[in-house]
């Protein structure tokens, strides 16, 4: 059974439908990239998957014993965080919040989990630093560590490389790919179709036409050809060489 099964989903705000008839599945270990133009409903889809807003129709089924809140989320930076006085450790620990229930404080295991995830993201040396003073790439790693505290199974990433320079962008993609290899299911919203076809196993393209399938099928599809007119074939070859052509 799939982790997530989305059937006949309609998305939008206040009964204004942006996307309808969306069907796709996410299996354990998948790396799904959601691509599409601005305003095509990518962020709305993500908010709906996170239960931050209700779908207008259709349903989202969780399988394999995945709980409703067992989805880690890497949001885009919000304005509040720009000058927020919070240490890296405090931010990462707050990922354990949902595990606490009504318990007021973090347990020793949760503190250890936070520390482990900081190490995993290579930011344990920054634990005492102020989050808002870090570079963009470091901040994303902190938020990834926080998301990993909330879940080990599935991560939703909302444009994780926005505003990062090319080098840090590559590091971020590698980092996400590593997590995927370690067994974390990834769903990522991206503008960067070239990177999407390089790293993802599946592509969901939403917009005027909807496509869902494996990367290889996407590159052969009309939607894929539209976005990768010349080098689509070349991308396909590179991608099928085993992903080591980065």
């Amino acid at each position: 059974m799939a982790l997530l099964t989305i059937s006949d989903l309609s998305l939008g705000y206040d009964s204004r439908i942006i996307v309808e008839g969306l069907n796709f599945t996410v299996n354990e270990g998948d790396y799904l990239c959601i691509v599409g133009e601005n305003g095509s409903g990518k962020s709305t889809l993500m908010r709906t998957l996170l239960h931050l807003q209700e779908p207008l129709g259709g349903q989202i089924r969780m399988g394999d014993g995945l709980a409703k809140n067992e989805i880690g989320y890497l949001p885009q930076q919000n304005a509040i965080q720009k000058d927020f006085p919070a240490s890296v450790r405090e931010v990462v620990l707050s990922g354990c919040q949902a595990r606490c229930g009504w318990h007021p404080f973090y347990s020793r295991e949760q503190k250890k989990l936070a520390m482990d995830n900081m190490r995993r993201m290579g930011i344990d040396n920054l634990a005492r630093r102020c989050y808002s003073e870090l570079s963009g790439g470091q901040q994303q790693r902190v938020l990834l560590a926080r998301a990993l505290c909330a879940t080990q199974r599935i991560l939703l990433l909302d444009e994780p490389v926005t505003g990062l320079d090319p080098k840090v962008t590559m590091e971020m993609y590698d980092c996400i790919a590593n997590l995927n290899r370690e067994g974390v299911t990834i769903i990522m919203i991206s503008h960067d179709i070239a990177a999407a076809v390089q790293y993802a196993s599946h592509i969901l393209h939403i917009g005027s036409s909807v496509f869902f399938g494996t990367k290889e099928d996407y590159l052969a599809s009309p939607e894929g050809r539209l976005f990768l007119p010349q080098d689509g074939q070349e991308q396909l070859e590179r991608a099928t060489e085993g992903g080591d052509a980065k």
Binding site: N69, P85, L156
Partner: protein, 278 residues
């Protein structure tokens, strides 16, 4: 000067005033950090005007203890404000609410009040005046009890308050009961506002909430240290302000706020100099 202070400190009403003042300053600073970070600084102001209006209504109705009316109504308004804040134009709604409450409060006091000194009453509700020195023992006990409740609630919910302040969407997606904790925050803020009205009056409450948090954020860079520092700064300023006010005979509320403002200004200067040297 010292003699005068020592003489005053022997009186129980002065001791009560100091205890209550410091407790209120502590509570308002704790929640102030969250309010400033959530960009809700003006909620304190809006709510205090609502509290002023309800106090006017209580005065008109001749209630023996106006707390019983002021507290629930202010809490109700706080809950409504926090619910609607996500919609656009939250600041306009807040401004509208606060001036409306202020206007109606004054109107009620003027039309229905049986007191001979209406402008004196209004002035003391707005600026706190000397009411802190005329506290009765029951008031002190009620105030102290509520302060303790606020501090305990804050400590128990500290991690949750951090989570919903830093990133509400993430907390919600991870299954934190965000609405529930926002409700807790709004209720606690309403309680603090009503308590603080006794100390500094309704016009100056936002200073008590905002200044310590801003001062602490100048110096520290983690949530815990900012919160602790804000609490210490706030209690210190309130104590100093009250002592100055007693010895010099100045109004309590405005003296405390003046001390808060001066401490903030000094902090800005010192951190600018130290930061410039680095």
């Amino acid at each position: 000067m010292i003699d005068k202070l020592a003489l005053y400190l022997q009186y129980s009403f002065v001791q009560y005033a100091l205890i209550v003042g410091m407790l209120i300053a502590l509570c308002s600073a704790l929640l102030g950090v969250t309010l400033v970070l959530k960009r809700f600084s003006f909620i304190g102001d809006g709510l205090s005007h609502v509290a002023f209006a309800t106090m006017a209504i209580a005065a008109v109705l001749n209630l023996s203890n106006n707390m019983y009316l002021v507290m629930p109504l202010t809490i109700l308004c706080a809950v409504i404000l926090f619910r609607t804040k996500t919609k656009a134009r939250g600041d306009a709604v807040l401004a509208m609410l606060s001036v409306t409450a202020l206007a109606f409060g004054y109107l009620f006091m003027n039309i229905f009040s049986s007191s001979s000194n209406v402008s004196g009453d209004v002035c003391s509700t707005l600026f706190g005046s000397t009411s802190i020195l005329t506290l009765k023992k029951e008031d002190v006990i009620l105030c102290a009890a509520l302060s303790v409740v606020v501090v305990v609630v804050f400590i128990l919910f500290y991690n949750k308050i951090f989570a919903v302040t830093f990133d509400e969407d993430f907390a919600k997606a991870a299954g934190t009961r965000v609405n529930c904790y926002n409700l807790v925050i709004s209720v606690v803020i309403a309680v603090i506002i009503v308590l603080a009205m006794n100390l500094v009056g309704s016009l100056l409450i936002s200073a008590l909430v905002i200044f310590p948090a801003l001062t602490a954020m100048r110096i520290f860079r983690s949530f815990l240290s900012v919160t602790v520092c804000a609490a210490i700064v706030s209690v210190f300023c309130a104590l100093l302000g009250m002592l100055v006010s007693i010895t010099m005979g100045t109004p309590v509320g405005s003296t405390i706020v003046a001390v808060d403002a001066i401490v903030y200004a000094l902090t800005v200067c010192v951190t600018a100099v130290v930061g410039g040297r680095r």
